[in-house]
């Protein structure tokens, strides 16, 4: 019990964590060119620009002085939130700090470029071993996901060909599809993708969550239990729609 009392008196605790973070690899220091490209992207993928935190990587730039403040302003105007700068000279580091941004030393290994320029903003994800049967970052799991097991697709959609039993957990950066009964916990859009959904043949889920918005079994309309459903986020509310 004494442990609980201690915890209650603490205002905070430090926790180590690995968060997925979008890195904006700058190949030009010209704020105007950045603005143009961002405007183009915004129309292509509006869902991406939702106050998404980004790290500005200036490793590829060879300029000792950057118009960092203007670059940040351009980003914010397009609903990207620069939170830190990576790489660059000492003056760059100083101006990052002056702007209230963090600074990271340059990466020693070359970052994996997952999407080529022209598709979407280059995104770097937390290092993760490629899961088996990976398809474009997604994953297909065959068989029952049993109590105590966790199956995740950290980079895409997760398809479970089988049931997810009570006490099991399935997670995906994208959507979760269960071709069977969903009795455990299902979390879609774990990196904050609001467009992700959960689909299952038979709903008995202990917990449904899309981009952090969740419903417990208790909160689910009993009439929907046992039905084939689709779970989506609309206006930050989880909505469950019967598919039958």
């Amino acid at each position: 019990m004494s442990l609980n009392v201690d915890r209650a008196s603490m205002a905070f605790s430090f926790k180590g964590g690995m968060l997925p973070m979008t890195v904006m690899e700058l190949t030009s220091a010209d704020p105007e060119r950045i603005r143009e490209q961002l405007a183009g992207k915004l129309s292509q993928a509006p869902a991406f620009f939702q106050h998404t935190p980004v790290v500005l990587s200036v490793e590829k730039l060879d300029e000792p002085h950057l118009a960092l403040e203007r670059i940040c302003a351009v980003c914010r105007a397009h609903k990207l939130l620069p939170v830190a700068v990576r790489g660059g000279s000492d003056p760059v580091k100083q101006s990052a700090w002056a702007l209230g941004l963090g600074w990271f030393p340059p990466q020693e290994i070359k970052p994996r470029v997952l999407e080529s320029v022209g598709n979407e903003a280059p995104v770097e994800r937390v290092a993760d071993e490629a899961p088996p049967a990976a398809i474009k970052g997604g994953r297909i799991h065959r068989g029952t996901v049993r109590s105590g097991q966790q199956v995740s697709a950290p980079e895409g959609d997760l398809v479970v060909v089988g049931s997810v039993n009570a006490g099991a957990e399935v997670l995906a950066a994208g959507s979760v599809h269960v071709y069977g009964a969903l009795r455990g916990r299902a979390l879609a859009g774990i990196h904050g993708d609001h467009d992700a959904g959960i689909f299952c043949r038979e709903l008995h889920a202990e917990l449904l969550s899309v981009a952090g918005n969740y419903k417990r079994l208790e909160d689910i309309d009993p009439q929907l239990l046992g039905r084939s459903v689709e779970v989506q986020l609309s206006d930050d509310q989880l909505t469950i729609v019967s598919l039958t």
Partner: protein, 272 residues
């Protein structure tokens, strides 16, 4: 090469030891040279169920620690020729078991026997994991209640990941479902989960269904495995189970309430 079968469940008190004893006895009665090993170090029970508690001198831990030879520890069953029992130690705990020790014992036994039945302790800790680690087949014992089904589900997950077969990427452990303490009347009443629900959740083949029966408790207390009680429903159900384990097709019995015949309905007699 013997086939190694683990009898496991996760949850305690569902009938693992009873089933291990009954299945081992059934296999021996069918002429298979069988040894049943008690892995429940510290809570030894198998010797009682098998009725050999007065003949235990050395145990599994003694053999692992080199204090006794395997042949000194093996107890020959009084009733069936082909059956041997390797008891657990009551005075030690599960930490006394080592993976190498268990492997060595199983390797030796596999040369002399057709079947090695491992009676797993409850839980998912060391004892249970060692009991299942070397298994070729698993009999997952489940009662028709939600907590037991969930624990069995957990065990099935471990069988698919924490066994030698899983770690070496061999063919997975063959999983069988054995439902015990099934009472069709109470299932009809909604007090118990029914057979279909359990099978749907666990999604493995049904090996057998043992009805809730007075014969089981009687057998335990007498130290005679219930398989010997051929007049009882439970005894017959275990005999069926063993036949299926040997690959025979046997129709399922005891899973439906007995329909009362015309006479018993008229006179109110018959089994309830």
């Amino acid at each position: 090469m013997a086939k190694i079968i683990v009898v496991t469940s996760g949850k305690g008190g569902v009938g693992k030891t009873t089933s291990a004893a009954a299945i081992a006895t059934g296999l021996a009665l069918r002429g298979k040279k069988t040894v049943v090993i008690d892995f429940d170090v510290g809570l030894r029970n198998l010797d009682l169920i098998m009725g050999c508690e007065r003949r235990v001198v050395y145990d599994l831990v003694n053999v692992i620690q080199g204090e006794a030879g395997l042949n000194q520890a093996l107890i020959r069953d009084k009733r069936v020729d082909n059956l041997h029992i390797l008891p657990a130690s009551q005075t030690r705990d599960k930490d006394a078991l080592t993976q190498e020790g268990v492997e060595k014992i199983l390797e030796t036994l596999t040369k002399d026997f057709d079947y090695i039945v491992c009676d797993s302790p409850a839980g998912i800790e060391r004892g249970a994991q060692l009991a299942m680690y070397y298994a070729d087949e698993a009999v997952v014992v489940t009662n028709p209640e939600v907590s037991s089904v969930r624990d069995s589900d957990r065990i099935l997950g471990l069988l698919a990941s924490k066994t030698r077969r899983a770690e070496n990427g061999q063919e997975p452990v063959k999983e069988h479902l054995l439902i015990t303490r099934y009472n069709p009347a109470r299932v009809d009443h909604g007090d118990m989960l029914n057979l279909d629900d359990i099978q749907e959740i666990l999604a493995i083949d049904l090996l057998g269904l043992i009805p809730e029966s007075e014969a089981v408790l009687r057998a335990s207390n007498q130290g005679i495995p219930v398989t010997h009680d051929n007049d009882s429903d439970a005894g017959q159900a275990y005999t069926d189970t063993v036949s299926r384990l040997l690959g025979e097709k046997v129709p399922l019995r005891f899973h439906e309430t007995q329909k009362k015949g015309l006479l018993s309905r008229m006179f109110g007699g018959g089994r309830r």
